[in-house]
Symmetry: C2
Subunit: 383 residues, 2 copies
């Protein structure tokens, strides 16, 4: 088989940081890229041969891509399934596949699929209204504390609420929800699985996610995660099983809890490049973005091996600042050896908005955690 | 100091592969990029916020950038010096600096500067007309064989001729030339030096260049070059001296011969990212493209250390094929671990045209040379 880049037209929606980094990988192979995003000033605005304004949540916007592309990759789950089916019926190859995405974009269906397939995930119930939650607590069918997750449109910590006490019941999230038993978390980890149409799968090394205490967002991650050999093996096995439970095609990020007994529980999945895979650009033999392309094009999967231990620090908008971003401490951070700064290009910063990330390579986790502290201390996104 | 990407407008001229890879580095930092190239279908065509059609050899074309940018980086030497001076007088920061570029773009002045500064370079004479060369040979002032290089506009092996015999004298290159004594070459190496406005310099590890037997182009390179410790030290010292001899600001690639006695001779220099530095994207702590940006922005220089031994194979258009490129063997090459394919996006292939490159990482030079052979054997650019 010959590769003829000019035969392709790759649609990427939307043009946030994940779409931007995917576009960079595609352009390195000279694949023509069309970006669709509601905002012409999106992160990917400097990339691609064409930009289309549109919101992938709307079927009619997705249809604008019909004559423009023959491949489509998503960077977000919240996309019109009908629109995707329309595009698919025109012969456009899409990852993740719409059937799988339909399950995943509804956290209720996602949990049910995990449970049906016997994949360890925390016990849960599905309830449609807040008053049903209150009743269930009052009747002792649900124990406090628990986690409430809205079934649709959650993202980056939005749509997730920890309910600790009866008092919190007056402030529940609206709409159909997953009510999930709290896990006694030792640490949170993530593994990214990739699969191509030939039926091959591969898994990236596990990463350990350390959360921001306030923002419910990843503050930094370490790769490889600090796990025992048997924990790592179990996590790897569960990640592959989870991939097959959904069969999304392309990438599936599998976020897990490791509990205090050392057991893994799948928290949730994302069928796309993932924040917990940014470090793969510099730290792994194949980046998650190139891997996504390989899956989409039906090419052999790339090696996922870690070239060097890595850390990734999210650059979150500093609380108290909104407006045109300036990156304080940039110069100091650039003095570190093996430091890779990615600035996404969002034109406005806001408190805790993901504005960029910094990947660090180092000889071991000790060296990396020192570098992480320095980056977190020095580099601030202000306005 | 805060870094505010939106304060910059980076002009890149032209939009060939070096411009493309520089634009990718700039966009990773969200620096707004304006590309100027004579060809709107150039390699960098999918990158940047604006494209301007223009040929940087022409002063009036460069002047189109005047109101568009506040930084300018070049990917080629053949640029109007008057145009650069005009832009500089408007406050635009440029690397390389025009004074230095003026010396370098004339290989006669370049050689004179090297000789004046006591940098080892093969003995030479400058002659303006072919008949003067013939006379000098007849009068015994020049010995056969020798190398003739046109003083201006040489590139990628064009403008260089090896003259072996009296018969070759009927087929000399036209115009003012450098006539250079032949070096008894053991191998060719290259070192890239970077310098920032603060006066810091740093050097990338030496690479060994293996030339294509027909095309007078690099076929592949290996890093680190196979040199003794004292040869590597000498090469490093000469590279830094050469940087200071020209003081271009930004990058200076210093190509050298290592002769059969193990002595280094500077062949020529290029004040920009260089083919011999492509591997730095994946193999070094800081890529040559990010380094060029750091220099331009007056940021601290990045670490140049090698993360892993590397090879880089140029993908040259296969002789006998012209037209829309197809990359035969792409799939097979992607099965290798730690392989990075870059397809530049030139819309037409021609025999020996540089269409892309492949970087390979490996544990040692033996493993790398095996991978190189596989890539050279399998991956062919046809039409």
């Amino acid at each position: 088989m010959s590769f003829v880049p000019s035969q392709y037209r790759l649609g990427i929606t939307a043009g946030g940081q994940l779409g931007k980094m995917l576009a960079q990988a595609a352009i390195a192979w000279d694949i023509p890229v069309v970006v669709m995003d509601p905002d012409p000033a999106c992160a990917a605005r400097q990339l691609g041969m064409k930009f289309l304004k549109g919101n992938p949540r709307f079927r009619e916007d997705l249809l604008k891509l019909r004559k423009e592309i023959n491949l489509l990759a998503l960077e977000i789950e919240h996309v019109s399934i009908e629109g995707l089916r329309d595009l698919q019926s025109e012969g456009i190859r899409i990852i993740p596949n719409p059937e799988s995405l339909e399950l995943i974009q509804d956290k209720g269906l996602q949990k049910k699929r995990l449970a049906e397939k016997g994949i360890p995930t925390m016990p849960f119930v599905l309830l449609d209204h807040e008053h049903e939650i209150v009743e269930a607590v009052q009747q002792g069918r649900i124990q406090l504390p628990f986690v409430q997750k809205t079934r649709k449109l959650g993202y980056d910590g939005r749509g997730v609420k920890r309910v600790n006490s009866m008092a919190d019941l007056s402030d529940l999230l609206a709409g159909p929800s997953v009510i999930e038993q709290l896990c006694d978390i030792e640490k949170e980890i993530s593994l990214i699985v990739a699969g191509n149409p030939q039926g091959e799968t591969c898994v990236y090394p596990p990463v350990e996610m350390v959360f921001h205490p306030e923002a419910n967002l990843v503050s930094y991650l370490l790769c490889p995660a600090r796990l025992t050999a048997s924990q790592a093996e179990e996590a790897n096995h569960i990640a592959i099983e989870t991939y097959h439970a959904f069969n999304p095609g392309g990438l599936l990020a599998v976020e897990m809890f490791l509990d205090k007994q050392g057991k893994c529980w799948v928290n949730e999945v994302a069928p796309r490049p993932h924040n917990s895979g940014h470090h793969t650009i510099e730290a792994c033999a194949t980046s998650q973005y190139e891997q996504q392309l390989r899956c989409l094009l039906g090419l052999p999967l790339g090696n996922t091996g870690l070239i060097k231990p890595a850390a990734m620090v999210n650059l979150l908008g500093e609380p108290g600042y909104s407006g045109i971003p300036r990156y304080e401490g940039f110069e100091e951070v650039l003095k570190l050896p093996e430091v890779y700064v990615h600035i996404y290009g969002k034109q406005q910063t806001r408190p805790f908005r993901k504005m960029g990330h910094v990947t660090l390579l180092g000889k071991d986790i000790e060296e990396l955690t020192e570098k992480v502290e320095l980056v977190k201390q020095k580099l601030k996104v202000k306005a």
